[in-house]
Amino acid sequence: MAVHVSEAAGAPGTPIWLDARYRAIFFQIALLILVVGFGLFIFHNTYQNLQVRGIASGFGFLNTTAGFDIIQTMVPYSAESSYGQALLVSLLNTLLVAAIGVVLATIVGFVIGVARLSRNWLVARIAAVYIEVVRNIPLLLQIIFWYLVLGKSTPGPRQSIAIGSIFFLNNRGLYLPWPVLEEGFWVAPVALVAAVAGVVFMARWAKKRQEATGQQFPTISASLGLIFGLPLLALLAAGMPVHLDYPQLKGFNFQGGMVLIPELISLTFALVIYTGAFIGENVRAGIMAVSHGQTEAAYAIGLRPGPTLRLVIIPQAMRVIIPPLTSQYLNLTKNSSLATAIAYPDLVAVFAGTVLNQTGQAIECIAITMAVYLTTSLTTSIFMNWFNRKMALTER
């Protein structure tokens, strides 16, 4: 560093081409010229190529009628809808897979990570084999594998595998009962908001009381009771303005309820299995990073095993787990784009696939797709960094 400083100051008699300051300016200008020149070169070529091929650029095509159907839509969409709406539908499909996948992969990952550390030899071995097998097979192959397995092993609608005549699994998907909201359902969300406010208030009060008197209050069970109980009570008081719509076999297919298409199920399954293995390793690393002395110290000051885990081990393990967990969440979101392989209508399959082929607007479609992933990734990243700062060890 001292060398660097003396160079930067420019010792007397240093020739200009050896002076770090001028060298820095020179290299930066050179890089800038290179990058801008490369950009201009590409822009110029693209402009000329587009003119030669007679492709109009711009985002006007987003308002044109799409003319194709999508097998899974979470907002109203039909063949008459525009490309812009197709973009929205496919984006929501991607986010759906990512959201379900992140939650389930976290659960699988924590279970596997703990299982791998189990003192039970057999359980630890099974977890290790699972992790090594799953991590070392390309995800694309796994997605296709689970899609074929689901397709080959499920019967037609009439021979559906029924679970208690409520859930039905066949080659068109998994049929579940779905709540239908009636008038007066608004009491439930209102009650939920009230419950959350109550939980925040109660947590503060409990903490204050513990600091003042040392008495503990069962905050977690009380919070859970409040969050689930209050909306339920409100619904009961309003006379249950909601009922479950059960799927029923009518003719050749099921009507009513909710259907999860096979593409969604197999994609989510593959992503969860795959990412869960990676998260499992992160969890194991995090737990092993907390030295055993911490446990012994906690026992020495009289904490029981439960509080030791909750108050000493987990907070310290989380510091190690969260940064790699973030990148696993981002990986899962990005890997969901492999949905193209099994024709799950996600952003890449619909927008960078069908729409691009129909309109020929290659640059716009790819740019929008990349921009969407960029935004999603950076948003997740910012949120997890904030969470990480909150969890990080505060040194006093």
């Binding site: 039970n120 890449v348 290659a362």
Partner: protein, 275 residues
């Protein structure tokens, strides 16, 4: 009566039988507590569910002999239960070489042998100039493989030698299989490492333009899925270059190692090096 005081040392008693040997191991690792025993039982049940059907499918009921699809079927035409391994044998060269011309597959094998021989001296402990030789081999091996894969005598299409000559050019769209996977992977790995180091150093640099550029590059490419980069190189690269190139579309990035295969892993290495 005299009382005998025994001052001699007696042999140690053996450890309790339940704490050593196979039984001790079992007690400690599988049945140390109620919960542990329960876990063991559940694990054994899971293994029981998974392994016997797998063995039955893959070994017991599998078809091992024969050389045609009909050998995997019952006389009445329905598929036999179990795996059909003869399919792997029949397609083995396809898995390895893809659509590479049959009479030229020795060139791929030759490339593999030469590359392995090039790397072999690195296993010798006191090889002179080992580092220099290693770097040279790493840079040279993909070139050697590329030349052998492609060939170097380009005949006009109507020349009779264009179908028989042992060194005729094989276009990239005929490459395939595991050999191509290994080739692309090695080119990608070799090209991305120096770029990754460069980006990592650039990101740490005190020069504002250099570090901004590196941060933008890293954050952009690592935030988008590989498949969109592939799509981009397949549909947008022809627009970026002055003349539409004649690369085959199906192997978007695969057949042109330079633009795609090296762009991707760069950021990861960069992040790793920085950390």
């Amino acid at each position: 009566m005299t009382t005998a005081v025994d001052t001699g040392q007696k042999a140690d008693l053996p450890p309790p039988a339940a704490t050593v040997g196979a039984i001790g191991w079992l007690r400690e690792n599988l049945f140390s507590s109620w919960g542990n025993t329960l876990l063991t039982v559940v694990a054994v049940y899971i293994l029981y569910l998974a392994i016997p059907p797998l063995v039955e499918w893959a070994v017991m009921n599998a078809t091992w002999t024969g050389n045609a699809a009909k050998d995997c079927r019952m006389p009445d035409g329905s598929a036999k239960e179990g795996a059909c391994w003869i399919f792997i044998r029949a397609w083995f060269s396809g898995f390895m070489y893809g659509l590479y011309p049959y009479d030229l597959r020795w060139r791929v094998d030759l490339a593999a042998v030469i590359v392995l021989l090039m790397f072999a001296p690195l296993a010798i402990k006191r090889f002179p100039f080992k580092t220099h030789y290693g770097v040279a081999v790493i840079l040279l091996a993909p070139v050697v493989a590329y030349v052998l894969f492609r060939g170097f005598i380009d005949f006009p299409p109507n020349d009779p030698l264009s179908n028989t000559h042992p060194w005729r050019v094989v276009e990239t769209h005929k490459w395939g299989g595991l050999s191509l996977t290994l080739l692309i992977a090695s080119v990608g790995i070799i090209a991305s490492l120096p770029l990754g180091i460069l980006l990592a150093l650039g990101r740490r640099s005190h020069m504002p333009i250099v570090s901004t550029f590196c941060v933008l590059f890293i954050e952009l490419w690592r935030a988008v899925p590989l498949i969109t980069v592939l799509f981009m190189s397949s549909v947008m690269l022809p627009l970026f270059l002055s003349r539409p190139p004649t690369w085959p579309r199906w192997c978007a990035g695969a057949c042109r190692p330079s633009p795609r295969a090296s762009t991707r892993p760069r950021w990861r290495l960069a992040s790793t090096t920085r950390a």
